[in-house]
Subunit: 383 residues, 2 copies
């Protein structure tokens, strides 16, 4: 069991949103926690996102509540009122202002919260309560995740503990990525924000399950400061490790996924160029199905590079493609190597490595194979 950083407390419960599993996680901090947050850019962002984006602007928060099994998205004016009431209920329960509460929500789209049950739960909730572990917290925010996602590390005297959920990029198979990271390291909001946004760019934003973007994605980091100042470079490394580990866990547990696909593009002109190519490869249905079939089909990787039509500086004769350590283009694989690569692709994690021979920048993207399991999960769900 993973303990929380000093100053944090998590309560979990079943409010009866959908079934009898835990469907609410309430994280509180005993001081005004410094906070940095990133949210979905979706035009159909739900009221939870709109509210939390506004509340996070102050740079501090006292509580984060995450409701699972209902996204409260596309629910109109009533949905907006319900999100506000939820923040007020939490504020009353933990004795802070509603504006000090951040709200996350994940689950079915287009259905109103069961507000009677939510009201009943919070009216009767009087702290302080004993905290549950990070594992129980991660469990309470799961929807169709098959296991909880937790990562933690130590930076000097401080600890960083993160939890996350998400199995696709979207509901109603109740996907949505939500990550909440707690630390007792002491940082200003500006420091936390600078570091978190940098880290998110190469971790959560390097993850693609199915190119679909949730209406409810959010990632937060909160700092209580109780462990004092730490070396900021060490903190950035620690935070990156936690976020990267959560990213890898999310990719591995994606809907129907059997293989974690890591795509590194290097020798690029810019990291933006490297990211564009890496994401094109990791998102290609034909690359994803080839990996699923353990087929070392490098022609599909070439195709996925080729379809980035705006990157006219890329020369197909200069590009080098490798599976793991093995070059497959332009020095084409022998039949013996292809056999070996079939075994290589039949692993839990595989690497596709592309060198552009244009510069010194690089980017690594994370994704997963496309399986009949993904189709089954997403086709068989009925509203």
């Amino acid at each position: 069991m993973t303990s929380l950083p000093k100053g944090f407390n998590v309560h979990v419960a079943n409010m009866g949103v959908k079934d009898e599993t835990n469907d609410v996680m309430l994280l509180t901090c005993d001081v005004q926690a410094k906070v940095s947050a990133v949210f979905t850019q979706s035009l159909f962002a739900g009221p939870s996102i709109v509210l939390s984006r506004e509340h996070a602007q102050s740079g501090t928060s006292r509580a984060v509540v995450v409701v699972s099994k209902n996204a409260n998205v596309a629910t109109g004016a009533i949905g907006v009122a319900n999100a506000n009431e939820l923040a007020a209920l939490v504020g009353a329960s933990v004795q802070c202002e509603p504006t000090e509460v951040l709200v996350g929500s994940t689950g079915v789209i287009g259905v109103q919260y069961p507000m009677d049950r939510i009201r009943e739960h919070f009216v009767n909730l009087v702290g302080p309560f004993d905290s549950v572990s990070a594992e129980d917290a991660a469990n309470a925010i799961m929807t169709t995740d098959t296991h909880p996602k937790i990562a933690s590390t130590q930076v000097g005297e401080a600890s960083i503990v993160g939890i996350a959920k998400g199995v696709g990029m979207i509901e109603p198979n109740m996907a949505t990525m939500i990550a909440v990271i707690m630390t007792d390291a002491e940082l200003s909001t500006a420091e936390l924000d600078l570091i978190f946004k940098k880290v998110v760019g190469t971790t959560f934003n390097a993850l693609s399950i199915d190119t679909d973007t949730s209406t409810s994605d959010m990632a937060l980091v909160l700092s209580s400061g109780h462990a004092g100042r730490v070396n900021l470079n060490a903190f950035e490394d620690g935070l990156k490790n936690v976020c990267l580990e959560l990213t890898r866990q999310l990719a591995s547990d994606a809907e129907g996924a059997e293989t974690l696909i890591v795509v590194t593009v290097d020798q690029a002109e810019s990291s933006v160029q490297a990211k564009k190519i890496a994401k094109s490869i990791v998102n290609s249905p034909l690359v994803k199905t080839a990996v699923h079939g353990c087929d070392p089909n490098w022609g599909r990787v070439a195709m996925a590079i080729g379809k980035c039509e705006d990157e006219t500086g890329i020369d197909q004769n200069a590009v080098v493609i490798k599976f793991g350590e093995h070059e497959v283009y332009p020095n084409q694989a022998t039949n013996e190597l292809l056999k070996e690569l079939e075994r290589y692709l039949n692993q839990d994690e595989i690497l596709i490595h592309v060198s552009l021979q244009l510069g010194t920048e690089q980017f690594t993207a994370y994704g997963c194979d496309l399986t009949d399991g993904y189709v089954r999960i997403n086709a068989d769900y009925t509203t």
Copy 2:
């Protein structure tokens, strides 16, 4: 059987590229045909594309040769030499300049042509030969297509006959879209080009199977002029009908597809905006799997609109979503309607209709559902 427009002749044969099915289609015109052509924008475009792009610039051609079962892509300098030799062999056989020959190729990537067999075939090929029908021509360019694609229409005294192939956007399941349209209507190259590029924008370019772009896509129209001048508006309508019918046949026969998905976005600010939203919907794996599962899951359509993050003018409260004629958002469907929609989605062709309430422009995109058949076809192929 569909006859070819006046002036065209098609020869088909098996050269032994891969198996014993026909793998070459040679179309000739008895005069310098006016030609307009569009090609893949892929950075990994094969030598056939590079050669044909150059040869088409003159605005006239005498012959089109399409080799199936081998794409001649990512084949280096030898591949380039082979494409040039193929054009020369065809030129010698039909007595025209190599620069008057266009070359198309579709099939496995990264494998050289069997040049000995190709040489033997063309050296022994002495015309004139009796022409085969459009059906036989369409058959000869198939790879994993389950049936030939042909469409034709009459414009005054002239006829327009098109053939196409393609089942995904890429090889090595030997997809690639190739379309060749013949007409005996008399047009200048400039007229033909203007009309063809306009028509392609709302037909072949409105088609998305799996977001993957082939290294070998090409669409051509050739005019012999033997039927004389026609009304240009009527010609444009006729050409559009032929290209749209081929587009629909391509979407319906896509790998594993069971349902043709038509997405119309209207009341948009611009056709560019409408196209972006329509393509986002028709390409969304979660929308595609929902249709496959006959699940009237409008939340996924909302998500697919929402992920077009740059279109900040779109207001989620103004958007109207319909399946067929039935509104599902913002006036949400009753359970009775949802049952009816399950039946609606269980058809060969379904319509998703989105109105943005922003303007008067519209776009219609064509795609297909995502099935376990797609995964199976693309995962089970082994290099």
